[in-house]
């Protein structure tokens, strides 16, 4: 039975069948009615052995297989030799990851397929988490909305751990020679903080919002490969303990970049690092291929490229850039593992290898990675700016070209990190040129945002404030980046706190600020609750003031010559470091208040209407809570999503009018009536 027939039988107007609030007259939602009539399968009886698998069995499986791997490898290898102790550690960690994935049920589907007993519809419904309540967040659940929320939680956990390490590092630096942390501990914290934050910032937009929001935004029912979606998430979860284990095995004394040959000589903590990177790279590749395929093949009818929201472009650009970049990083770590465990010579000059090989592979990932992080955060803000300025996005085509320009140039700038390394000095000039050129498409994105804000009727929310903060921070990060792209200036500033301040202004000032803005914007759709704006403003100002105090102070001491990654410093840098540490405490307090806001609002915040901001993209056209299949009738898009302005009343504050109508210009598939012709969605 088609949904249209069902709608007709149940007495709903065809234009209303998108909404679960349209009841059949027997108290059933459309989804329930479709299930009753056999149009949708149920999860009852499905799942088989997968019903018993969850996060606890995953941990048990991981621990059991890791213990087995350790026992066997330890038994057969002489562990007095550092090489073989590295082999034991790598085998143990690899076994953990395999056991964890088996325990969560990642292999159940392929295993049954191999046995000729592929998953049934009921199994798929079980995998999608149907009727499993909170439990579905702890399972191998394929529903993209669940995966999006899981990514959000993982991101917050990573940010909390990385932030804790940052507070400890800054406390150690509050005065010269504080001796709060030993140098070994400090070095290890620097490495762990760096890599944890890099992973967290890579996933912080494309993970939660790319999975939860993007499929709905393009009018799809789910991702192209739902099981791969869950696989990418749980691989990431498996990688987190592997990474943290480094802290208990001598740490990561190399900084997050793990340069060889330092990494060749480091303690077994390095094995935790490289195994985590390998797992994370696989996770990212799977996620990237999935998101790209979803956007290329599952956009709603009528959603041409000129009608595709800019957020979708940004996410695709990010994961598309990560697809070739992260394997470079993974390859470097695999070679490092060979060096450490099998007397490989990839990075050892005396054996015919080259440390420059590592640096090239690392930065072939490392610089595109900056844009992997920043592009989705900036485009998330570009997506919400028209909503809160009540104006169309200024020059959509320029925005797309800006993104394309950044992506194209970002793979041609990596060696500006290696000016001082002595590798190919003749290429310093060309790399300086490409690096400085990338400021042009980046500037275009700035102009698009400023042009959208210009003469807009601004609705000042935390999300919109994040746009202003991003502009301020990213300009500082960008301009100082131009200094660093300049070869002579870089020779003076390389390896100093100036560099640290610069990349925090881009990754945190623009990236994390963008992610927080996106969280305030899409939280009502993800949870059905509003984040408190009042609490949000308090945390916003604490974080932004603290951030600028911290990193402007760091610029000052960096310019004066303080090297980075050093656990103490001469007295001449005392004032700047003291100021930076106080600023960092403000950031910490502000982020904790943000955490409180998320938890308390999620539990007991104001119930969100379906479209609290008056947004026009498709995610605002579905009800809260969002049905399992998102749309009961797939939409057809007949215009772009940025038609804000004329004849469009400024949306009232959500408290005053929580029933603000959603008015996307779309029609149910096969129908000629637009939903905007109806009297408003029954939220």
């Amino acid at each position: 039975m088609s949904s249209a027939e069902l709608a007709s039988r149940s007495g709903c107007k065809r234009t209303e069948v998108m909404h679960d609030d349209c009841r059949t007259g027997k108290g059933d939602t459309m989804s329930e009615a479709m299930v009753k009539h056999g149009a949708l399968p149920t999860a009852e009886g499905g799942g088989g052995s997968m019903r018993h698998l969850n996060a606890l069995t995953a941990v048990a499986g991981g621990v059991a297989l890791a213990a087995l791997g350790w026992l066997i490898s330890h038994h057969f290898m002489q562990t007095d030799d550092p090489e073989t102790s590295d082999q034991v550690v790598l085998i143990t960690l690899g076994c953990w990851a395999v056991g964890f994935m088996a325990g969560i049920g990642a292999f159940a589907g392929p295993f049954r397929w191999l046995l000729g007993n592929d998953l049934t519809h009921a199994d798929e419904m079980h995998l999608a988490g149907k009727d499993q309540g909170v439990g579905r967040y702890f399972r191998f659940t394929t529903d993209h909305k669940v995966v999006g929320v899981q990514y959000l939680i993982v991101t917050m956990v990573l940010l909390a751990v990385g932030g804790t390490l940052a507070m400890l590092m800054r406390t150690n630096l509050i005065v010269p020679h504080s001796n709060f942390l030993g140098p070994q501990t400090y070095n290890s914290l620097v490495g762990l903080h760096g890599i944890i934050m890099v992973i967290a910032t890579i996933i912080m937009v494309t993970g939660p919002f790319g999975n939860f929001i993007l499929p709905i935004m393009i009018g799809a029912r789910d991702m192209a490969f739902p099981r791969l979606n869950a696989l990418s998430l749980w691989l990431l979860v498996a990688a987190v303990p592997v990474l943290l284990s480094a802290g208990f095995m001598g740490g990561i004394p190399t900084g997050w970049s793990a340069y060889a040959p330092l990494a060749d000589q480091a303690t077994p903590g390095m094995d935790g690092y490289l195994m985590a990177i390998v797992i994370f790279a696989i996770s990212s590749a799977v996620a990237g291929a999935n998101i790209t395929t979803t956007v290329l093949t599952m956009r709603a009818r009528g959603m041409t490229w000129t009608r595709t929201p800019i957020f979708v472009y940004g996410v695709v650009a990010s994961v598309g850039l990560a697809l070739p970049a992260l394997p470079m990083f993974m390859a470097a770590q695999v070679e490092l593992a060979v060096d450490r465990t099998m007397e490989g010579q990839f990075f050892i000059a005396s054996g015919g290898g080259s440390p420059w090989l590592y640096q090239n592979l690392f930065w072939l990932f490392g610089h595109p990675e900056v844009y992997v992080i920043v592009i989705p955060a900036v485009v998330a803000l570009m997506e919400l700016t028209p909503v809160f300025a009540r104006k169309p996005l200024y020059n959509f085509n320029a925005a797309v070209l800006g993104i394309v320009g950044i992506v194209g140039l970002s793979i041609m700038v990596w060696a500006h990190h290696m000016y001082a390394s002595g590798w190919a000095p003749d290429l310093n000039g060309p790399f300086m040129l490409t690096t400085e050129m990338i400021s042009v498409p980046t500037g275009v994105l700035f102009l698009v945002v400023i042009g959208t804000i210009w003469r807009g009727r601004i609705w000042t929310t935390v999300a919109m404030m994040s746009v202003y903060a991003m502009l301020w921070n990213f300009i500082i990060g960008g301009v100082t980046g131009i200094y660093l792209s300049d070869v002579p200036a870089d020779y003076a500033l390389h390896g100093s706190m100036f560099v640290t301040a610069h990349f925090h202004y881009t990754l945190m000032g623009a990236g994390l600020t963008g992610a927080i803005g996106a969280l305030y914007y899409w939280f009502p759709k993800m949870t059905g609750r509003m984040l408190s704006e009042r609490v949000g403003f308090v945390s916003f100002w604490l974080v932004q003031i603290g951030f600028n105090v911290t990193f402007l102070g760091m610029f000052a001491v960096g310019l004066a010559g303080q090297p980075r990654r050093v656990f103490t410093y001469p007295h001449m840098f005392a004032t700047g470091n003291f100021i930076s540490t106080i600023g960092a405490y403000f950031i910490g307090i502000g982020m904790l208040i943000t955490l409180y806001n998320v938890i308390s609002s999620w539990r007991s915040g104001l119930v969100a209407p379906a479209n609290p901001w008056g947004g026009k993209t498709l995610e605002w056209a579905v009800p809260n809570p969002i049905p399992l299949a998102n749309f009961e009738v797939l939409p057809v898009v007949i215009s772009d999503a940025y038609g804000y302005g004329e004849g469009d009343p400024q949306p009232p504050h959500w408290r005053a009018d929580p029933h603000s109508p959603a008015t996307p210009e779309l029609v149910p598939a096969g129908a000629g009536t637009t939903i905007s012709d109806t009297e408003g969605s029954p939220q």
Partner: protein, 230 residues
Amino acid sequence: MDARRTLTGGALTVLGGALVVTLTGIVLHRDGAEAAALSATVKGTAATSRGVLPHAFLKLATYPDSMAGAHGPGGGVHPDWVTYGPTSALKVPAHSLVTITIDQYDGGETITNPYFATVRGTVGGTMTVDGKTLTKTSPDAVGHTFTIHAAPSNQDPLFVSVPLPAVAEDAPVAPNSDYPAPHVVTFSFITGGPGEYVWNCEYPCGDGYYAKFGGAMSSRGYMSGTFTVS
């Protein structure tokens, strides 16, 4: 969300976060803080090229394992790592003549960088090894080096590097000792104003199959430490 509940909840979250950071910091501090410093003993004065200065003395040793250092009972976490002793945090007076004596118990091989086989930065550019005055030692038989570096800053520069000759591999264990008889190396240098410096061994005597710069060489407290002029 009422204001009182918001304030209470927010404050508790901040306090909880601060507590987590504090507890983590305490654990890491206990595990990783630098050892207590060994201060040089000042005994009278000495005539130097910079006039009459206080004369301070330090006594150190290098061991082929960590059983005799300051790493706790049984050698600590890495009993088989080479180490300096009795500690790696050293403190000497400013504007003084400092004389350091090192008992070198460990063997050695060819040093990677022969630059560090020559005595540098000491009074007269010399050291005494078992009573003989030398300006360098054979690069093929270096056990360790004691090398003080200064970070770029506005404090007085200080660079001292002394090679410690290797004890022969077949040297017999000395009576009432776990080690062979050591080479006794003595050298002196003059300190400037107060400053924070680091010292380390430049002979790759650590862990890792490549170049031996891992393990004891890449972990503070064994073959490297702080050198405070105060």
